[in-house]
């Protein structure tokens, strides 16, 4: 018995790829990693999970020997990352967030370059290249310039280059960012094959749904390790606390607000027509059952998700009432149609980015634009908010043609870009003043609105700080405040929550839900499938064409099959894109 356990420990030690012992790292006053202890095993996919700024990249760079820890030590395959730095470079393959691909070289030239940098024997290259190209399914694109590849293809090429020297430990820094679900599926398949060969693969991510696919996770928040182990172990702790109010329908935003304001509910999101809630530890589902009865809907228990566990570890999500929406008066519009486009087409040279797209968005609707990378989703979005001129067709915002009545249309829309485009050089107050001024608010209104925004979003303590120095959540509030300064009836959100932690994302959607309830029309593009669930309707674009337009539930239903009776939004996405591709090929 004793001997047995010794062998097990030894085995485990022999199987350990990376040992992290009491690692501390700070940059100036910023503590990036605190007292971190963890192990990473061979033959296993380990997720390095946490929101932006959690310390994921710092830990990655320490493991590849690019950064030295301030205290503690890290060994990879028994080699210390500081003392045996040269060995580390041979043992590890590292794919940074933006892999160093040479955009002006072709796929093949990039691979040859990386092979030479690794001083590999040219004779064996062709064989290896063929294998890697086959593995990454890039075989038919060898002569294409790396700069012309889509986001997903770039990641795959990056992976191929990182795999060149057959590393024992492969470190992937947020490989899923900006990659659509179809390409992401491909990446998962490749990583699976690698771990099966015995490689240790570390996949860092801010998407919590990606964490669930990992065999083991290291959950980081603000430089501290919150959890280490299989994700199921963490979600198991939440068992029996997750519920869904089924088919709530049009009232779901109100129901979510009410649910979140209940003391027993720690977290809640919209899932299609339903509302999903997580109860606080030890809370009884009585109150939520009462809410379900009141709304005359069914309450069912659902399996816990990793995200639930994460939010729970952080002490629950924000409340359900949006102070912002409370202050708004309901939007009055002349017609029920807030945004519409007719045969919208955009060509760049001989490339068609958006092909004959037509749809209407109703007042007070949350409307999602989804699609794989390069499907024309952002081109369409930009034409709808007046950033691009359509080649043909027309786009209207609250009845104003964007081509003819540009000023009138533009003063009726609000826009919040990815990475919250704020003036980093101006202070918070100056940013607010600028947006008020550029939307032509007169002196008295301007002062009133600015004070109101400061009050609503709790910005009073930060007025003289620059946006760059603000915590992410506050930065997002400021961006939202700036885009809503002129009370637009239509709000455009371009990937509003990429790289934002789930709590901040919840707070953001609380405001958006509140705005929608007041009749503000929301247009949103996103890569997060759980955000698509918040939408009333989703338009799916693929290869420049509109391939589907329906409610999230209907789209999911369409993907249901014998082997997958309850598909997720991601399944629906992949199903729709693949079906459209097949149809297009059949026609060709």
């Amino acid at each position: 018995m004793l001997a047995c356990s010794i062998t097990e420990t030894t085995l485990q030690r022999e199987n350990t790829a990376v040992v992290i012992e009491a690692v501390d790292k700070h940059f100036g006053n910023v503590q990036a990693l605190r007292e971190l202890n963890a192990d990473i095993q061979y033959g296993r996919l380990t997720g390095l999970v946490g929101p932006d700024g959690a310390g994921k990249t710092t830990l990655m760079r320490i493991m590849t020997g690019l950064l030295a820890p301030n205290a503690g030590r890290v060994t990879v395959s028994g080699y210390d990352v500081v003392d045996d730095n040269d060995a580390i470079h041979v043992l590890t393959g590292y794919m940074p967030q933006r892999f160093g691909l040479y955009e002006d070289l072709s796929v093949m030239e990039n691979m040859q370059l990386y092979a030479q940098l690794r001083s590999m024997d040219a004779r064996y290259n062709n064989e290896l290249f063929a294998e890697l190209l086959d593995f990454t399914r890039l075989g038919s694109f060898t002569t294409r310039l790396a700069g012309k590849l889509s986001g997903g293809m770039k990641q795959k090429l990056g992976l191929a280059c990182a795999l060149m020297a057959r590393p024992r430990v492969l470190l992937l820094d947020e490989p899923g960012v900006g990659v659509d679900p179809v390409s992401r599926q491909d990446l998962w398949r490749m990583v699976q094959a690698l771990t099966d060969e015995g490689m240790a693969v570390v996949w860092s991510t801010a998407y919590l749904d990606e964490a669930e696919r990992c065999e083991s996770v290291l959950l980081l928040n603000r430089g501290q390790l919150l959890f280490e182990g299989p994700p199921q172990k963490l979600t198991a702790q939440l068992e029996g606390r997750s519920f869904r109010l089924e088919n709530v329908g049009a009232e779901r935003r109100t129901v979510l607000t009410k649910a979140l304001d209940l003391p027993c509910v720690s977290d809640g999101v919209i899932q299609g027509a339903g509302v999903r809630v997580v109860l606080r530890d030890g809370a009884q589902p009585d109150d939520i059952q009462a809410l379900a009865d009141q709304a005359q809907v069914r309450l069912t228990a659902v399996p816990a998700r990793f995200e639930d566990a994460f939010i729970d570890l952080l002490g629950g999500g924000p409340g359900g009432t949006s102070a912002l929406a409370e202050r708004l008066s309901p939007v009055e519009l002349g017609s029920d149609i807030a945004v519409s486009c007719r045969n919208l087409t955009k060509r760049f040279g001989d490339f068609t980015a958006t092909d004959n797209v037509t749809f209407d968005v109703h007042k007070g609707e949350v409307f999602g634009l989804l699609g794989p990378n390069g499907a024309g989703k952002s081109t369409t979005f930009k034409m709808l908010c007046g950033l691009l001129k359509p080649t043909s067709g027309e786009a209207q915002v609250v009845g104003h043609d964007l081509r003819r009545a540009t000023g009138a249309a533009k003063s009726r829309l609000g826009y919040m870009a990815q990475k919250f485009s704020l003036y980093g050089l101006l202070s918070v107050r100056q940013n607010l003043e600028f947006s008020a001024g550029v939307y032509q608010l007169e002196r008295s209104t301007r002062r009133e609105r600015i004070d109101e925004m400061i009050d609503t979003f709790d910005l009073a303590d930060w007025l003289s700080a620059t946006p760059d120095s603000l915590p992410l959540g506050l930065k997002q509030r400021l961006a939202l405040a700036c885009s809503l300064m002129h009370r637009p009836p239509v709000l455009f959100l371009d990937e509003p929550t990429s790289g934002v932690d789930p709590i901040t994302r919840r707070e953001f959607w609380t405001h958006i839900n509140g705005l929608a309830r007041k009749g503000v029309t929301i247009m949103v593009t996103t890569h997060f499938m759980d955000e698509a669930e918040y939408c009333d309707r989703v338009a799916m674009l693929s290869r420049a064409q509109l391939i589907a337009l329906d409610t999230p539930d209907a789209l999911k239903q369409g993907a249901a099959g014998v082997d997958n009776p309850d598909p997720t939004m991601e399944d629906a996405f992949i199903h729709l894109v693949e079906t459209a591709d097949r149809e297009m090929e059949a026609r060709a």
Binding site: C385, G386, L387, L388, K389, T406, G407, A408, K410, S411, R412, L413, Y415, A417, Q418, K419, S421, L422, Y423, G424, L425, L426, Q430, E433, F434, A436, G437, V438, Y439, Q440, L441, E442, S483, H486, F492
Partner: protein, 372 residues
């Protein structure tokens, strides 16, 4: 909501934003304020067209009095640091080849004899052609010294005295009198070019340009709000240079200050148009800075600041007419030294106005083109 194509409220908000962006950004502050001061110091005190501190080699084959006299005079000449005395012709060439001396003087055997006989003594000068400009100036200095001797030797031969050259406007040919007014134009050019070329590119990097484009603001408003800070800062820098020319270097200012100020403003406006065009096509601030230099440096070289426009091939002379600096230099140099009459200033002022109109219009088109 009123949505006219022009709104003072919007313009004011954007103008404040632009000024704050320049003043609150340490990088912009560096780009805008450090080069002027550095350039002022460098150009005013270090960069000089005079020849000083050179070495000269002398190969003297003559043992007469006149050659000794000549060498003594060279020895005491200010501009020569060291006089290498050598005794064979080969070394003469070696020293020039190695760049150790800029010029070498070979005095023939019959030098003193010819002078004694009433002829003019002839000495050969070899000059390093690689440094042609300084070389020529050195030859001129050497000739002056030799001519002085000639005059001494033959005091009554008036014919030998060279024609007396009197330089008008700058009698002592003080090079600062010539450089500092020109610098006014160059500094205003670079500051205005850099501020404007960074302005749109910076916003594009931040993503705020899209934010601006979705707002009801019109393209002319964007152009105006981005022109004003450059105009203000460029004008201030120009005035700073002009006043340091007058008060620090004591250069006589003889023209009309008002006309100069008008020209300065028009000049900066034409540069602002160029800067905004660069900015509209640049994706990053780095590209914008490179673009600004790619336009700025050739402008200075071709403007007539260092080399006369008349010496260029005809088609380049045509091109120089499109460079705002060419016209501004004529005005600023004329205002300082020549008391240029208003009529002549106007002759250079209207091309500036035309260039400003063209570049600003093109900038508007370029920015609007972003919304294709």
């Amino acid at each position: 909501m009123p949505t006219s194509t022009f709104s003072f409220t919007r313009l004011r908000a954007q103008f404040i934003k632009e000024i704050l962006s320049v003043l609150r950004d340490p990088r912009s502050r560096m780009v805008v304020f450090v080069p002027p001061i550095l350039q002022l110091l460098v150009f005013a005190f270090a960069a000089t067209l005079e020849v000083r501190n050179v070495d000269i080699a002398v190969y003297n084959q003559d043992s007469g009095r006149w050659s000794h006299e000549l060498i003594q005079r060279l020895d005491s000449a200010d501009f020569i640091t060291r006089l290498h005395r050598i005794d064979n012709r080969r070394e003469l060439h070696t020293l020039i080849d190695r760049g150790e001396v800029i010029a070498a003087l070979a005095i023939p055997v019959d030098f003193s004899r010819r002078i004694a006989a009433g002829d003019s003594g002839i000495a050969q000068v070899l000059v390093d052609g690689r440094r042609s400009n300084s070389g020529q100036i050195t030859v001129a200095y050497l000739s002056t010294i030799a001519a002085d001797m000639g005059v001494e030797i033959v005091p009554d031969a008036q014919a030998l005295t060279p024609v007396v050259v009197r330089h008008r406007f700058n009698p002592n040919l003080i090079y600062r009198w010539f450089i500092v007014p020109g610098l006014t134009g160059i500094l205003a050019l670079f500051s205005a070019l850099l501020i404007t070329s960074l302005s749109i590119a910076r916003e594009r990097e931040l993503g705020t340009f899209d934010q601006l484009l979705v707002s009801p603001t019109s393209t002319p408003e964007i152009i105006i709000s981005k022109s004003l800070p450059a105009l203000a800062i460029g004008t201030l820098l120009g005035l700073f240079m002009i006043s340091s020319g007058v008060f620090l270097f004591g250069i006589p200012f003889t023209g009309s200050f008002i006309l100069l100020l008008v020209s300065l403003v028009l000049f900066i406006l034409s540069v602002v148009g160029i800067g905004l065009m660069i900015s509209a096509v640049s994706m990053t601030q780095q590209q914008a800075i490179l673009g600004a230099f790619a336009i700025g440096v050739p402008s200075v070289l071709m403007s007539g600041f260092a080399t006369p426009v008349e010496n260029m091939p005809v088609f380049l002379q045509w091109l120089t007419q499109a460079i705002p600096l060419t016209h501004f230099l004529i005005i600023v140099e004329g205002s300082f030294l020549k008391a240029m009459p208003p009529g002549d200033i106007l002759a250079s002022l209207w091309p500036l106005a035309v260039i400003a109109l063209v570049t600003l219009t093109m900038a508007t088109v370029f920015v609007r083109g972003r919304l294709q």
